[in-house]
């Protein structure tokens, strides 16, 4: 159920911003480091050559709807720039099963899907004559698929220009190195990529998000700015090795994608006292809404009166944060998603509560449990229990119950060397002191690690 021209009223760019940037302007920055992926380095010249080679060989894709599954960072970036140059409408599919890719291809009427085989096209660049084919008009359109864990992903269409609009451009950033601990095709990954790319800085993509590997990458790659979910930062702080982490030359740590809690902000501050800590609030549909840098959880209540970014507005309706955005998508790709979409205010799905001068996050509305008729927010349980001595990380989630609808279960990652019996008792004592009886976990399991989803966020879904 899609139409070929869903956004007739939206203004198309004359030429794609991304292709222009790399293919035209990149010629003068060929020697600059662009990518550090697990120690494998590429320059802007390498990316530019690969992009030109792809443009030369993929001419028939001009103006088409094209999916991209390639995940190697250099290949991915050369591909998005070349598709932009060709005036293609790019669908960022990322790493998915062949069945999912096929279903996405059919659902959105994609005329081609490009994957890792693009490497061959890119590799031929070295011998090809470097004549740059002309740019096609109408570039700049790019569709992101939401990371939502329930059902079919929603497809939100942006332009590279609107995606890049929150990026701070500053010549002094050209020597910065940006660690991206998000998958590149998701909104947060695109923000980190564009922040590095549009400043001719280096993008550092760890070979894996394993905490020890990511910690080693922070140090060995000389990362100055690092961005990841709170779940990523919790894991790296507890399991990355403190002595190693202290050696990192970080100037800025950015958190996004999940609610940031005070305990995590405090742990980051104590490990890296001088570093600037930024919490970004954004979504695939709304784009970036605001950031918070004062080291406190939540955001200032005055943002409800005057949002910090022009064109952005925030309000609370029935306990849920709603927003209007200057950096939002053009629209959903599919008819049924567009039908539910109001033009002005958009629900964020985040429950909030005003406490004094602060608006605090209380979890996702879709994560609410129903325990014997009571609504229970997993985030409240997690925030209450996470500071218990001996807890490295935890998540609260529902277990289906014939007697109560759902009951609260808890998965706990203990700090190495903790006594599980004592920890269980401390958790229960803290739960009874700080939670209502139906919020107290009735099932507690100890695990070695929590399993984040593909966006490296914790889910509160019942285990399969």
């Amino acid at each position: 159920m899609f139409t070929r021209t869903p956004f007739a009223g939206a203004t198309a760019e004359k030429h794609g911003m991304l292709g222009e940037h790399l293919i035209r302007e990149g010629a003068a920055r060929a020697e600059r480091r662009a990518i550090d992926h697990g120690g494998h380095l590429s320059t802007y010249g390498d990316l530019r050559y690969a992009a030109i080679a792809m443009v030369s060989q993929r001419g028939p894709l001009a103006g088409r709807r094209v999916g991209l599954t390639a995940t190697d960072p250099s290949l991915y970036i050369a591909a998005v720039a070349s598709l932009d140059w060709l005036g293609a409408h790019t669908f960022l599919i990322g790493r998915r099963s062949p069945d999912e890719v096929e279903s996405i291809r059919n659902r959105f009427g994609l005329e081609a899907v490009l994957g890792e085989e693009m490497r061959e096209a890119a590799g031929r660049a070295a011998t090809a004559a470097m004549e740059i084919p002309p740019a096609h008009p109408g570039g700049g359109r790019v569709t992101l698929l939401t990371s939502g864990t329930t059902g079919v992903p929603k497809a939100a269409t942006h332009t590279w220009a609107t995606l890049g609009s929150p990026v701070r451009k500053d010549p002094s950033l050209a020597d910065s190195r940006w660690l991206c601990a998000y998958p590149l095709p998701l909104y947060a990954g695109i923000q980190v990529f564009l922040q590095a790319f549009l400043n001719w800085a280096a993008l550092v993509v760890p070979a894996s998000f394993d905490p020890r590997q990511a910690a080693a990458t922070l140090v060995e790659s000389g990362v100055t700015h690092a961005s990841g979910t709170p779940t990523f930062w919790r894991q790296i702080i507890f399991f990355g090795g403190r002595d190693l982490l202290r050696r990192a030359a970080l100037r800025q740590i950015t958190l996004g994608g999940e609610a940031v809690t005070q305990d995590l902000l405090d742990r980051i501050r104590s490990l890296w006292p001088g570093v600037r800590i930024v919490h970004i609030y954004a979504s695939t549909e709304l784009g970036r809404l605001f950031s918070v840098t004062d080291g406190r959880e939540g955001f200032p209540v005055r943002y409800l009166e005057t949002a910090p970014e022009a064109g952005t507005a925030l309000r609370i309706l029935d306990g849920e944060l709603q927003a209007r955005s200057a950096h939002g998508m053009i629209g959903y790709e599919q008819e049924q998603d567009r039908a539910q979409d109001s033009e002005s205010w958009r629900a964020t799905g985040d429950l909030v509560e005003v406490r004094g001068d602060r608006v605090l996050f209380r979890g996702r509305s879709s994560d609410l449990m129903n325990v014997g008729g009571h609504k229970v927010a997993p985030l409240k349980i997690e925030s209450t229990l996470r500071s218990v001595e001996g807890v490295a990380d935890l998540r609260a989630y529902p277990r289906r119950s014939s007697l109560a609808g759902q009951i609260v279960a808890l998965e706990v990652v203990p700090v190495p060397g903790s006594n599980e019996g004592d920890l269980r008792q401390s958790l229960l004592n803290a739960a009874r002191a700080g939670l209502l009886p139906h919020e107290v976990p009735r099932i507690i399991e100890f695990v070695e690690a929590l399993q984040p989803n593909m966006a490296f966020k914790l889910t509160r879904k019942e285990k399969a």
């Binding site: 014997g372 277990r399 119950s401 014939s402 007697l403 109560a404 009951i407 229960l428």
Partner: protein, 88 residues
């Protein structure tokens, strides 16, 4: 099919886990009454049933149980009957 003593053992262990979570260390027996004096609330019983489903792969309460449950032995009986119906 689990034996009668497997079923009794699993039920006692699951109840003991919920009791210990409440700081009640006195071990239950099959004759222990399951009224309020035991110290477990309705959500504790819900958790016991969820845990037992993980062990015995059955939840007799899904279809409803209409007999009176006075002691832990009565609960054992509910599970044994359900397992017998399932496994023949």
């Amino acid at each position: 099919m689990p034996t009668a003593s497997d079923v009794t053992g699993a039920i006692l262990a699951s109840i003991r886990e919920s009791l210990e979570m409440k700081g009640i260390t006195e071990p239950p027996t099959a004759q222990t009454p399951v009224d309020a004096r035991l110290g477990l609330d309705s959500l504790d019983w819900a958790a016991i049933v969820v845990r037992l489903e993980g062990i015995l792969d059955i939840d007799p309460f899904e279809e409803g149980v209409d007999r009176e449950l006075k002691t832990i032995q009565d609960i054992v009986g509910v599970y044994e009957d359900a397992l017998r119906r399932r496994d023949g």
